[in-house]
C-alpha cells in the first residue's frame, strides 16, 4: 500500500464515519457540526484529486456559508429541534432497506464499469486549472481560449442560468423567510 492509498483510506473512513454521525446524531446541532466534518473530509478528497479550486470553494461555500445557514436555521427552530425524536422502526427499516438496495445497485454499476480500475493520467504540467475553468465557464468557445485549440465544450449558458437561479432563490427564500407583517411594512 502506498502512502497515497493510506491517505485516501484515512480520509474516506473519516468522511464516512462523520456521515454516519450526521444521520444518527440525536441533537441536531451536532448533526450539523458532523456535516462540517464530512465536508472537510470531501475537501481532503478534492485535494487528493488535485482540484485546488474546488477544495477552497468547498470550504468557503459549504463550510463558511451553507453550514452556517444550517446552524442558524436550527437555532431559529430551537423549541422543536433540540432533540430529534427517533422515528419509529417502521420508518427506519424501509429507509435502511432502500439505501442498502441503492448501495448494491450503485456498486453493481461501478463493478460493471469498464474503466473502474483505471489509474489517473499524469496532470498536464502546465495546466492552470482555475484559469482553464474560467475560460470554460465564460468563453463562447470554451476552454479553447485557454488551450489555443479550436473548440471545447463551453458552459457559458449554464453559468449564466446558474446566476439567474441564485437570484430567483434569493428572492424566493427572502419572501418565505420574512413574515407577512414585515412585508406589509416595507
Amino acid at each position: 500500500m502506498t502512502a497515497e492509498q493510506g491517505l485516501f483510506l484515512c480520509a474516506a473512513a473519516f468522511t464516512l464515519a462523520s456521515a454516519v454521525m450526521v444521520v444518527s446524531a440525536r441533537r441536531l446541532i451536532h448533526a450539523a457540526l458532523w456535516l462540517i466534518a464530512v465536508l472537510s473530509g470531501v475537501a481532503i478528497l478534492y485535494a487528493l484529486l488535485q482540484a485546488s479550486f474546488l477544495v477552497v470553494v468547498q470550504v468557503v461555500i459549504y463550510i463558511g456559508a451553507i453550514a452556517v445557514l444550517f446552524i442558524f436555521a436550527i437555532m431559529l427552530t430551537r423549541r422543536q429541534t433540540d432533540h430529534d425524536a427517533p422515528s419509529r422502526w417502521t420508518r427506519r427499516a424501509p429507509a435502511f432497506l432502500i439505501s442498502l438496495l441503492t448501495l448494491g445497485a450503485l456498486s453493481g454499476i461501478v463493478l460493471a464499469f469498464p474503466e473502474a480500475g483505471r489509474l489517473p493520467p499524469p496532470m498536464p504540467p502546465d495546466l492552470d486549472a482555475v484559469n482553464a475553468l474560467g475560460a470554460a465557464l465564460l468563453s463562447p468557445t470554451g476552454a479553447a481560449a485557454y488551450a489555443g485549440v479550436l473548440f471545447h465544450e463551453s458552459y457559458v449558458l449554464p453559468f449564466e442560468v446558474a446566476s439567474v437561479l441564485l437570484l430567483a432563490a434569493l428572492v424566493g427564500a427572502i419572501y418565505l423567510a420574512t413574515t407577512e407583517r414585515r412585508r406589509r411594512e416595507s
Partner: protein, 118 residues
C-alpha cells in the same frame, strides 16, 4: 514539483498540535478546585433565568441567507477574473451580466427594506 496540498495538510496538523501543547501544560499545572457555584453560568452574579440556548432574532437568518447567495456568486467570479486576460471582450460583458444579476439582487433587498436592522 512538490504537492502544495500535502504541505498544507502537514501544516494544519502541526497547527492543531501547537495550541494543544500549552493547553495540556495548563491542564497539568493549573489548580483545579471546582465547586457548583463556580461552575454556574456567568451573568455578572445574577442567576440565569431559563435555558441559555434561547431562540434568537430571525433577522440574523436573513443576513446569513443573503450572504450565502452573494458568497456563491462572488467566489465564482474568481475564475472569470483570472481568465480575463486571455478571453475576448465578450467575456468581460459576460462577467458584467453576472455582476448585474448580483446587483439586481442587492437592489431588490434594498427596495424591500430588508437591509434595515430592526
Amino acid at each position: 514539483m512538490r504537492n502544495e496540498w500535502l504541505y498544507i495538510g502537514v501544516f494544519l496538523i502541526v497547527a492543531i498540535i501547537v495550541p494543544l501543547v500549552p493547553l495540556g501544560f495548563a491542564a497539568l499545572v493549573a489548580p483545579r478546585k471546582p465547586n457548583p457555584t463556580k461552575r454556574l453560568t456567568y451573568e455578572c452574579g445574577v442567576e440565569t433565568v431559563g435555558d441559555a440556548w434561547v431562540q434568537f432574532k430571525a433577522q440574523y437568518y436573513i443576513f446569513a441567507l443573503v450572504f450565502l447567495i452573494f458568497d456563491v456568486e462572488t467566489v465564482f467570479l474568481f475564475p472569470w477574473a483570472l481568465a480575463l486576460n486571455r478571453l475576448p471582450m465578450f467575456a468581460v460583458t459576460e462577467g458584467a451580466v453576472f455582476l448585474g444579476i448580483l446587483v439586481a439582487g442587492l437592489v431588490y433587498l434594498w427596495r424591500k427594506g430588508l437591509l434595515e436592522w430592526q
